[in-house]
């Protein structure tokens, strides 16, 4: 075997190993189960700001805790933990939504900002979890 043959064999070995590191997809129920409590929690915070009701704030905290627990369970069950790989489009969407939240805070009110922030991270979380191992 020549040096070049050995180099090509090694490159094929590396490619095959890298392909084997593809993370397992989450079950279909995980992305909505994680994203929905998050968005709902922030919506409750927004309603709490608008109405001044403590009950909405407590519901928001509860839903955010549900999100954290579900997210942690989903993350800990991953045998191969991957880096989030994001396209430019994804970055643009996330930054755009966050910018909208900041503008909402500055020019409208805190409730709108919370609603948009919840939507931003909910969308990001849903896309990330639903694409893992499938995209």
């Amino acid at each position: 075997m020549t040096t070049a043959d050995r180099a090509r064999t090694d490159l094929r070995t590396a490619d095959a190993a890298l392909a084997a590191a593809r993370p397992d997809p989450f079950p279909r129920w995980v992305p909505p189960a994680v994203a929905v409590p998050y968005v709902a929690g922030f919506t409750c915070f927004a309603v709490a700001v608008w109405t001044g009701g403590l009950g909405w704030a407590i519901a928001g905290v509860g839903l955010c805790l549900v999100f954290f627990v579900l997210f942690l369970v989903a993350y800990l069950r991953m045998p191969v933990r991957s880096y989030p790989r994001r396209s430019r489009r994804q970055w643009a969407l996330e930054i755009g939504l966050l910018a909208a939240a900041v503008l909402g805070y500055l020019f409208v009110d805190e409730g709108v900002a919370l609603l948009l922030a919840g939507l931003a991270f909910g969308v990001v979380c849903y896309r990330q979890l639903s694409r893992q191992g499938r995209a």
Binding site: T2, A7, V80
Partner: protein, 106 residues
């Protein structure tokens, strides 16, 4: 400042190369998954990881999932850089060999 592609003697063994290439595709992976997906035995993977840990390519971390212990393995920043350099050197060798092949005439 760019670094010249250089072969890394620490990952020239096919098993070591496979393990670091696998780990370059993720943040961290558990021992069992690496063993199963690369079709290695426990002892072979343990030996390989020990060598790679000594050379600074990987870090090994003990953790728990629920009450079950798990061993997590990840590539270090230095390991990632050296793997990239090694793969670039291999590609260079393969490309040079291809360029050196004399054209055959019909």
């Amino acid at each position: 400042m760019s670094r010249e592609p250089r072969l890394d003697p620490a990952v020239q063994h096919p098993t070591k190369l496979a393990v670091v290439a696998f780990l370059s595709g993720c943040a961290e992976a558990d021992f069992k998954t690496v063993r199963d997906r690369l079709e290695l035995t426990d002892s072979a993977l343990s030996r390989t990881l020990s060598g790679l840990e000594e050379s600074g390519h990987v870090t090994v971390r003990k953790g728990f999932v629920g009450k079950r212990p798990r061993t997590w393995v990840s590539l270090t920043g230095e390991g990632r850089t050296r793997l990239a350099s090694h793969l670039a050197a291999l590609q260079q060798i393969a490309a040079d060999a291809l360029a050196a092949v004399p054209e055959t005439t019909a």
